[in-house]
């Protein structure tokens, strides 16, 4: 009976195939696990920033002509915060200021231009939304 290959050569070839396939799987696994781990860590840290984000509206005032509302926002949390400020006046006026960076531990004044000038005793609702979906509300009475 004729044999195509000797057992030694067959073993070498099979071992080579196993090593090649195994090495490829090994390499893929290393890359995949690294990507998964990095993604998990990044997601966890993003979630952490979202959970530990803290900011508050510390002071509000308006310009003498009522065209601008100034809102002081204090970031007392660890991560820097990017906020959008929306202002609604009870008589229908409104205004907004987008993408304001509040560094950690800092207070920043955000000026919001209004489409209608404020008048005495107007009640103003101020909504501050962070890009991490946290929010703070404040009410201001024009005096």
């Amino acid at each position: 009976m004729r044999r195509a290959l000797s057992p030694v050569i067959a073993t070498v070839i099979l071992s080579g195939v196993v090593l090649a396939v195994g090495g490829a799987i090994w390499s893929y696994s290393l890359g995949a696990s690294s990507v998964i781990a990095n993604s998990y860590v990044n997601d966890t840290l993003s979630l952490l920033d979202e959970v530990t984000e803290r900011f508050t509206v510390e002071h509000v005032t308006n310009s003498s002509d009522g065209s601008t509302l100034s809102v002081w926002i204090y970031n007392y949390g660890e991560p820097d915060v990017v906020v959008d400020v929306y202002v609604y006046v009870d008589d229908g006026g409104s205004g907004q200021s987008m993408e304001n960076l509040i560094p950690s531990g800092q207070i920043v004044r955000v000026d919001v231009a209004l489409d209608q000038p404020l008048e005495i005793l107007d009640e103003v609702s101020i909504k501050v939304y962070s890009r991490r979906q946290n929010s703070v509300y404040e009410t201001y009475l024009v005096s």
Partner: protein
């Protein structure tokens, strides 16, 4: 026999496959799990720290008193830490004027935060104090008023507020100087079925007043437990309004 086993194709492949599997396990999967666990641990630690900070923020309690100084057109801000945690004052707002400061008050401590120059043309001054933890405390002495015509600051009315916890009873309250000179007197019209609250204006600060609270019982007037009590009016170093609480249910 040994060589025969080694050279067995299936045997060698099984050994190699096992080595590769173990290699992948220890070089890829295990480090990945360790990194994930590490991230979880950091997350838990930071969230716990944030919860502690939030709790300490809720604990903060600051009694703020602001009073004017005629000599140099300044307002002095004084604060008492009534909380069990140290409080760091970082800003003092006087109307729209933001004054940056840095004063740490230990629990129970009273200290002048600072004196701040003000623009007297504003006439009305609202003072509030911001802490590092993001709390705001307004002045207990209320707004300060300046009259530019006379050049004087308006002082708040000084008063003693008596609060009697009551289910049913008839009471009389007397406020007097230490020497017995009466400053204020109040007697309920009949039997009261709720708490009795009465405020007495007092003429001057820097002196002590004796507050006597009596309940009508068995045809006699009986002092409530804890009274007569002596209270000090120390404004502007203290509140212009002093509270006296008494329990009328114990008699």
């Amino acid at each position: 026999m040994f060589m025969k086993h080694i050279l067995s194709r299936r045997g060698v492949s099984t050994i190699l496959g096992t080595l590769i599997f173990v290699g992948i396990l220890f070089s890829a999967y295990v480090p990945m799990v360790l990194v994930m666990k590490q991230a979880d641990t950091i997350y838990e630690q930071r969230v716990h720290a944030a919860e502690v900070e939030s709790y300490e923020r809720e604990l903060e309690d600051l009694l703020v008193l602001a009073y004017p100084n005629d000599a140099d057109d300044t307002i002095t801000v004084k604060a008492t830490n009534e909380a069990s945690v140290p409080i760091r004052v970082v800003r003092v707002w006087i109307n729209d004027q933001c004054n940056t400061t840095d004063k740490t008050l230990m629990p129970g401590a009273t200290s002048v935060v600072d004196s701040f120059k003000v623009d007297l043309s504003e006439e009305v001054f609202n003072v509030k104090v911001a802490t590092e933890r993001g709390n705001l405390f307004t002045s207990s002495s209320g707004s300060l008023y300046y009259d530019p015509e006379t050049g004087y600051w308006a002082t708040p009315t000084l008063a003693i507020c008596v609060n009697i916890i009551n289910f049913m009873g008839k009471y009389r309250i007397e406020v007097a100087y230490i020497n017995g000179t009466q400053v204020g007197y109040y007697e309920t019209q009949g039997v009261e079925f709720g708490d009795v609250i009465q405020t007495f204006t007092v003429p001057e600060t820097g002196v002590s007043y004796v507050v006597t609270i009596q309940k009508h019982k068995g045809g006699n007037w009986v002092d409530l437990p804890g009274t007569p009590v002596t209270v000090e009016m120390v404004y502007p170093n203290g509140s212009p309004l002093v509270y006296v609480y008494a329990d009328g249910t114990e008699i």
